[in-house]
């Protein structure tokens, strides 16, 4: 049994969102602790594709995403590392006229949010991007987008948060939480007793499980995008690539490796393991050589995946709980939360201090799922940790 901890804010989940929240809360002088089942940034935040893009997002996410983009430029002053972020631009490809029309629609809509997206077709496409395959008919380019190294971003935020005074507990899952008159009470796998005025649920694919402890139901589906990386090639791909339809995406790092993805792999949600899936993996290779024919002879040296929570409308839940004052959620980023993470941390801090945010959050309200079926994985191991805590059971 590890001692008792009395906090202003407890954070469940050490992804980018959680680590960034810990940094901002600690910087403003709160007593804050973050609990992470494994190690910080070892789940979706640490294994994702590394795309940092506003391009192609649901318009509801754009204000938050715009805010995030400004923070990416400031990472060195914020966490003492640039996270290997490079504003390479993001080029989204169309392989049919229909797809080109969808890119045009996005570009028009994005202008309302001040996001510049250029449409590129015909001779200019070949002149500017001679390395594209012949099936590509057009593209849209968002120059301010880019890419970063996911493996070091969340740990960088965690390190900065620690330096600002936050406590970060790794290998320590929160097994249950409830709220009573005194505030929140948490119990961790090490038997630590924690009390906190505010509770932040940034538990990623497991966020719905935490929400369920407080009677809130979000139909999250845990999925595992298949990722692959090749041996190094000469650096030729100066821009992050996506396609309309999303069945393949690719980027090259200056060291030469091409990182690409497409399709969904396999996961064991209970055991927290995942892998890129065979059929998908080979299909994605075909699609890669289709858009970038010069990758044809390269070798794939590694594949992987991770576990990410997808909501039915594929935008996250961000905002206060509907059932429990002091509980704030931010999870279900549906495959595109890496870029948002740094801004989510700021937004969470604003919500803690003022109850509101300068960024519009209405589309992300948890209430939109009221009445939905019980989430995957909410059942747990059969032991009801909350009932056990209420009965004062000790372990």
């Amino acid at each position: 049994m590890t001692g008792h901890l009395d906090l202003d804010a407890a954070i469940i989940g050490g992804g980018t969102a959680g680590c960034a929240a810990a940094l901002h809360l600690a910087t403003r002088g709160l007593r804050v602790a973050l609990f992470e089942r494994r190690t910080v940034g070892s789940q979706a935040s640490g294994v994702n594709f590394g795309g940092v893009r506003e391009h192609g997002r649901d318009f509801a996410e754009l204000p938050l995403s715009r805010r995030a983009r400004r923070i990416w430029d400031r990472l060195p002053e914020l966490i003492g590392s640039d996270g290997e972020f490079m504003a390479t631009g993001h080029l989204k490809l169309a392989r049919s006229d229909e797809q080109m029309a969808s890119l045009e629609d996005f570009a028009r809509g994005a202008a309302d949010y001040g996001l510049a997206v250029e449409l590129i077709t015909g001779n200019r496409l070949r002149a500017d991007f001679p390395w594209l395959g012949p099936r590509v008919v057009g593209a849209s380019l968002c120059r301010s987008d880019g890419q970063a190294n996911p493996r070091i971003v969340a740990p960088g935020f965690a390190r900065a948060a620690r330096q600002a005074g936050a406590q970060i507990f790794e290998h320590e899952a929160v097994e249950g939480a409830l709220r009573d008159e005194g505030g929140f009470r948490l119990e961790t796998e090490r038997g630590r007793r924690v009390s906190a005025r505010t509770l932040i649920n940034v538990a990623g694919a497991w966020g719905a499980k935490v929400a369920a402890w407080f009677g809130e139901s979000v139909p999250i589906e845990p999925q595992s995008p298949s990722m692959q990386v090749t041996e190094p090639l000469p650096y030729r791909l100066p821009v992050n690539i996506g396609v309309a339809g999303g069945d393949v995406y690719a980027r090259q790092i200056p060291r030469g490796n091409v990182i690409f993805g497409g399709g969904r792999g396999w996961n064991d949600f209970g055991a927290i393991t995942s892998r890129a899936g065979g059929g998908n993996v080979t299909q994605a290779m075909g699609r890669l050589t289709d858009i970038l024919p010069w990758t044809r002879h390269v070798h794939v040296i590694r594949t992987w995946s991770g576990i990410e929570g997808y909501t039915p409308d594929e935008i996250p839940v961000i905002g206060p709980s509907d059932t429990t004052p002091g509980l704030i959620h931010a999870f279900g980023f549906s495959g595109h939360g890496f870029q948002l993470g740094p801004a989510v941390g700021e937004v969470l801090a604003e919500l803690v201090f003022s109850g509101g945010s300068e960024t519009p959050l209405a589309p992300f309200a948890i209430g939109r799922f009221t009445g939905a079926a019980a989430p995957v994985g909410a059942q747990g191991d059969g032991r009801d940790p909350i009932a056990a805590m209420q009965q004062g059971e000790t372990r």
Partner: protein, 101 residues
């Protein structure tokens, strides 16, 4: 470029196989791996992508992956586990970058 690295100790009566290494003709023997074919004539197989110099393989058993060579037709072959075939045109230098387009 430095001279030959491997030295043949026996089995030298085999039929010859003509390949090229960096454009120059090299006479290999039937049953030579690409590694043997190249290193009995040259000092390296490739150069490291990260600027730390030439490489000439390491394990010879398909484990270390340090012997991949490029062919002029774009293929990449693991030199220690691939037999030399007549007409193979091998490149041991650094690959060209964006200016290749």
């Amino acid at each position: 470029m430095s001279g030959a690295r491997f030295r043949r100790l026996a089995e030298t009566g085999r039929p010859r196989v003509a390949i090229t290494v960096d454009g120059a003709p090299v006479e290999a023997m039937q049953g030579d791996t690409l590694m043997t074919a190249i290193l009995t004539a040259r000092g390296r197989l490739r150069v490291s992508e990260f600027g730390d110099g030439p490489r000439a393989g390491f394990c010879l058993m398909g484990a270390c992956q340090d012997c991949w060579v490029r062919l002029e037709d774009g293929r990449r072959l693991r030199a220690c586990t691939t037999f030399a075939e007549a007409g193979m045109a091998i490149l041991t230098g650094a690959e060209e970058g964006a200016d290749a387009f």
